[in-house]
Amino acid sequence: MSALPAPLVELRAVSKRFERTLDLAERATRLLRPAAPAPAVHALDRVDLTVREGEVVGLVGESGCGKSTLGRIVARALSPSAGERLWKGRPYADFDSGRDRRERLAVQMIFQDPFASLNPRMRIVDIVGEAPAVHGLVRRRERDEYVAGVLQRVGLDPATMRRFPHQFSGGQRSRIGIARALAVEPRFLVCDEAVASLDVSIQAQVLNLFARLREELRLTYLFISHDLGVIRHLSDRVVVMYLGRVVESARAADLFAAPNHPYTRALVDELPRMDLRRRNFVPIRGEIPSPLAPPSGCHFHPRCPHAFERCRHEAPALREVGEGHVSACHLNER
């Protein structure tokens, strides 16, 4: 039996709090008279995540669950307030300087809004070619040729290299974003809602592109989405988040066949299905709470149809409920 591939990215007990930084005047008044702590958004609460080489991990959840924040922490666009981040077993900080600097480029990110993620005043050749040139991956003379190669790989016509982002359609801009990430030869891609703003027919094209690139370049993905259908199509493993915590994690097939956590079950019920006609929607009640004031105990208890006393006071821990399948619910212990 072959061993599991080595983990590429590991997050251990990562938490992230967003606090409004106080300016000088406010800090001064606080010295004179201490006040209540400033309101903080608890985006992430002691999250563990492991992504092994070659796998696609789907990260799913609704607004306020912290999946985008988690993706940004993995991609180094944000730093955690607490906890560790490891790349190939070593802390991220190890790669800040020295010979290993290039490893910093190994994790890249694809963003949601194809327009806002491209500099509107830069030509495509510069957008894609800037980083490889700056980091010495390609010589200045060869830059244009290199960029042409990357553009072809993502299905764009290299003749359009000198155009600006506003001259392309949404699907093409998505591809430009992917090309920019690929140009620095990454090993790991964080895709933050990368297909969310695309039409269904373009979405299919881009999803197929992701699958093809995974094969050709042996990439590892952390695929973040709120769309369970897309997650199911692409992922090997799925991690479900709710209000800053991981509530369930399993292999994709297991999760959709037998969802354990009540929230996962509600999400799976909402999976887009073409065959249910004039269905009676039986929704889960209640609003998603604000991350500024998360409920006590299990974050999901106000909306959970099976909540009982313990759920109000104690946050459930992730427990194994099957092979490679963990879930955080007190119901599993009864």
Binding site: D199, V200, H226, A252, R278, N280, E287, I288
Partner: protein
């Protein structure tokens, strides 16, 4: 048999921009009976939202309705005066937008806005209007409606705001509601709640509903009939069961097949090659021709509208 509530015949709506003429809606025809739910499905640029706006006369220059009729309760809505529209909008026909902040004024309280909407069409006292508003909020599933009435829109979450927008649309018991992608920007569990409310309300009050969306699965669960739009034209229409189970137009089939849920995980998704045509290009014949696997020379001319009972398809080579 009574006349349908809404009859749209040959609707053409064009934008006259400095870059050229954009044929946003190009010969759209459909009808809607009282109490039925019609889904208007298409991707961006298909003209589905513009069709909705045209019905309500919300098209501003440089856009203009250049042809066709929109008959609502027997009246032609094309060419109505502002005063006539004021009597209809919010009263007999209402609209729900994708962004609830297009309905809600951010500087006014919810009760102010709702009372205003009631009193614009009915001569009732403020107290009576407030009662109706409270009822409407409770009907859309808002708990503690009195508290919400006193709130400002920014105090409410996105899902809550959309619910208030729906309540405002239904306040005066309209005969027809047009909903333009109201749940697209909302979370999936909230979308489920809102679809539940809409379904319940339409059934209880026999309100006709046009639901504009790009999400076929929502239509599958909600609608009775469906029209599929592409490049400003309706390429296929019929009952939901017929169109989704046995699509006749290659575009409809392509759309259905590219949804990830329909396919085995891991396998490449069948994709429609290419992109939708630019709205400025005026095309001879079928707009889907460059992307269609079944296109022939015959498709260079305007494809004929073929009818099979209640089903209609605009294709020279329908699948069947």
């Amino acid at each position: 048999m009574s006349a349908p509530l809404l009859e749209v015949e040959g609707l053409r709506m064009h934008f006259f921009t400095k870059a050229g003429v954009v044929k946003a809606v190009d010969d759209a025809s459909f009808s809607l009976e009282r109490g039925r739910i019609l889904g208007l499905v298409g991707e961006s640029g298909s003209g589905k939202s513009m069709t909705g706006y045209s019905i309500l006369g919300l098209v501003d220059p440089p856009g203009r309705i250049v042809g066709g009729h929109i008959r609502f309760e027997g009246r032609d809505l094309v060419g109505l005066s502002n005063a006539q529209w004021r009597g209809l909008r919010g009263n007999r026909i209402a609209m729900i937008f994708q962004d609830p902040m297009m309905t809600l004024n951010p500087v006014l309280r919810i009760d102010t806005q709702m009372i205003e909407a009631v009193r614009a069409h009915h001569a009732v006292s403020r107290a009576e209007a407030r009662d109706r508003s409270r009822e409407a909020l409770a009907k859309v599933g808002i708990a503690a409606p009195d508290e919400r009435l006193r709130a400002y829109p920014h105090h409410l979450s996105g899902g809550m705001r959309q619910r208030v927008a729906i309540a405002i649309a239904l306040l005066n018991r309209p005969a027809l509601v047009i909903a333009d992608e109201p749940t697209t920007a909302l979370d999936v569990t909230i979308q489920g709640q809102i679809l539940y409310e809409m379904q319940k309300l339409c059934r209880e009050s026999a309100t006709a509903l046009i639901w504009i969306t790009h999400d076929l699965s929502v239509i599958a669960g909600l609608a009775d009939d469906v029209c599929v739009m592409y490049a400003g034209r309706i390429v296929e229409s019929g009952s939901v069961d017929e169109v989704l189970d046995r699509p006749l137009h290659p575009y409809t089939r392509g759309l259905l097949e590219s949804v990830p849920g329909r396919n085995a995980p891991g396998r490449p998704l069948p994709q429609i090659p290419g992109m939708a045509p630019s709205p400025l290009q005026s095309l001879d014949g079928c707009p889907f021709r460059p992307r269609c696997g079944r296109a022939t020379e015959a498709c260079r001319t305007q494809p004929p509208l073929q009818s099979f009972g209640t089903r209609r398809v605009r294709c020279a080579h329908p699948l069947a």
